[in-house]
Symmetry: C2
Subunit: 304 residues, 2 copies
């Protein structure tokens, strides 16, 4: 079912945790928590995924499924969450059957969804009133990072709460860093997505130009990746862009969701994002070309 | 005078070479050719720089100065050139006192100027008529790369001629690669500059956004440079951008010169460069802010 790759886990005392949301990210993240020794109760809006998780990992005797977030959260010391967007998040955490209604005081709630800083702060306030600490903890590294347990986790909230969840989050990450007060994790993820958006467009323009100029772009990419034009995107996406391959990676629909969050935050804080806003519109073109599920590097499809 | 750093040179038979243009790039490049064992005759439009070169390296007994490109080229087996732009290049190579009028048949002419593909092809044709092989060989790596002898050289022209000049060019480079027919070196450099322009703008938007959001941007850059937003620019310019330092590196005026070449070539080959064109205009804003000599990372100054 999953492609979760076991890794060497830090040895920590087993906890009772819940994981809400078994999507392409959540499923392997929950699996790493389980494989590192914890007891995991899983919940997913579509129950079949929770059943699949139980079928794959039930032999450990440490997996349970729950039919509501509230039920999953009952008895958990830490509740992890990774869902689609602000709206899903409010439902899963704040709804009548949401996690907060099931959690005990003095427990921890960790959200890995890429969401707005505002919802992060709202969830923080709701949690504090219930005696629960909330950490906004969006991740980068994509599906491969989740499967290999090598995500980067960016955390906002109280530092003491961060220190408690860090050893657990290391089960599925290579770095888990405290970024500041509630919302700072989400804001850091926004900076990440801003840097990627314009960068991928620049790489697309460079490759499309080189192809029109008749250059052997595989050689060109090898040469220029030795210098000041180098980027992770160039090294990991350049040649698949030249080969017109986009059926993998981080989907355009998700990138537009993230850029929408970014552009709304920029409306509030006054940051100027002329190229980010333009690239968001270019991604709308890619969606129209049939590329909703294509990797973000498909920006080049508008140019070739 | 110079900050040329000696390096370990490949051992090759000493040649008589000329170097035309002792700017911030040409001066250390000529010095590396000299230090690797060749006899070097230098020419510079402003004679004081040639005199300075003689003063610094005359003790080797292998330096001469010349007062015209033609005089410098006489007797040289290979003539290297690194000047400002297409116009300077035409003067230095094709003028009455230009290099081609002094060169013997069966010698080699190598141009390291970042220039248009069109002038490269014109110089190639003029050279061929005189029985001389011409290689367009723009470099990347900047002033530091030139000083440390670690440039990347992108070559266009006949492959046999490239094979002859590669061992000499390795005196000032870490990589010297054949990219294709005449003009292919310049076109490769254009791809490089396209990739950098939009990338630096994306990085600028990300950092400016993060600063407005109140994040500790040095921590943010450490975290996100571990993932898909990573770039040479982020690792080498991110923290100086946060610190508002731009008095080094590759100047905005030079970048606009290069982007002008890029945009003219795109007019010819039909490549679409929406973000590159926009960033060129943003650099015009930076010039107006007093940033003609600032590093290209100063794009962020428009946003903060």
């Amino acid at each position: 079912m999953s492609s979760t790759q076991p890794k060497t886990y830090e040895s920590i005392a087993p906890k009772r945790v819940a994981f809400l949301g078994l999507g392409v990210m959540g499923y392997p993240m929950a699996a790493h928590l389980l494989l590192s020794g914890h007891h995991v109760t899983v919940y997913n809006r579509t129950p079949a995924k929770a059943q699949a998780f139980l079928a794959e990992y039930g032999h450990t005797q440490r997996v349970k499924t729950a039919t509501t977030p509230k039920a999953a959260a009952q008895g958990a010391e830490v509740v992890f969450c990774c869902v689609g967007n602000d709206h899903d998040l409010a439902q899963v955490i704040l709804g009548d059957e949401g996690a907060l209604n099931g959690m005990d005081p003095h427990t921890l709630l960790v959200d890995h969804t890429t969401a707005s800083a505002q919802i992060a702060r709202e969830l923080f306030e709701h949690s504090i009133k219930a005696g629960i600490d909330f950490i906004d903890a969006p991740v980068s590294g994509g599906q491969a990072g989740a499967q290999n347990g090598l995500l980067t986790v960016m955390c906002g909230g109280k530092r003491e709460a961060f220190e408690l969840i860090r050893p657990l989050a290391m089960a599925f990450s290579k770095a888990c860093t405290y970024m500041g007060d509630s919302g700072a994790g989400q804001l850091t993820k926004m900076v990440n997505q801003i840097c990627i958006a314009g960068l991928v467009q620049a790489l697309s323009e460079g490759i499309a130009f080189g192809m029109k100029a008749g250059l052997d772009m595989n050689v060109v990419l090898d040469v220029i990746s030795k210098g000041a034009a180098q980027s992770w995107q160039m090294e990991n996406r350049g040649k698949t862009m030249v080969a017109d391959q986009f059926d993998f990676g981080f989907a355009v629909d998700w990138m537009r969701k993230d850029l929408n969050i970014v552009l709304q935050e920029a409306q509030k804080n006054g940051a100027k994002l002329p190229v980010t806003a333009l690239v968001d519109q270019f991604y709308a073109d890619v969606q129209d070309l049939g590329g909703k599920r294509w990797d973000t590097s498909s920006l080049i499809k508008r140019l070739t």
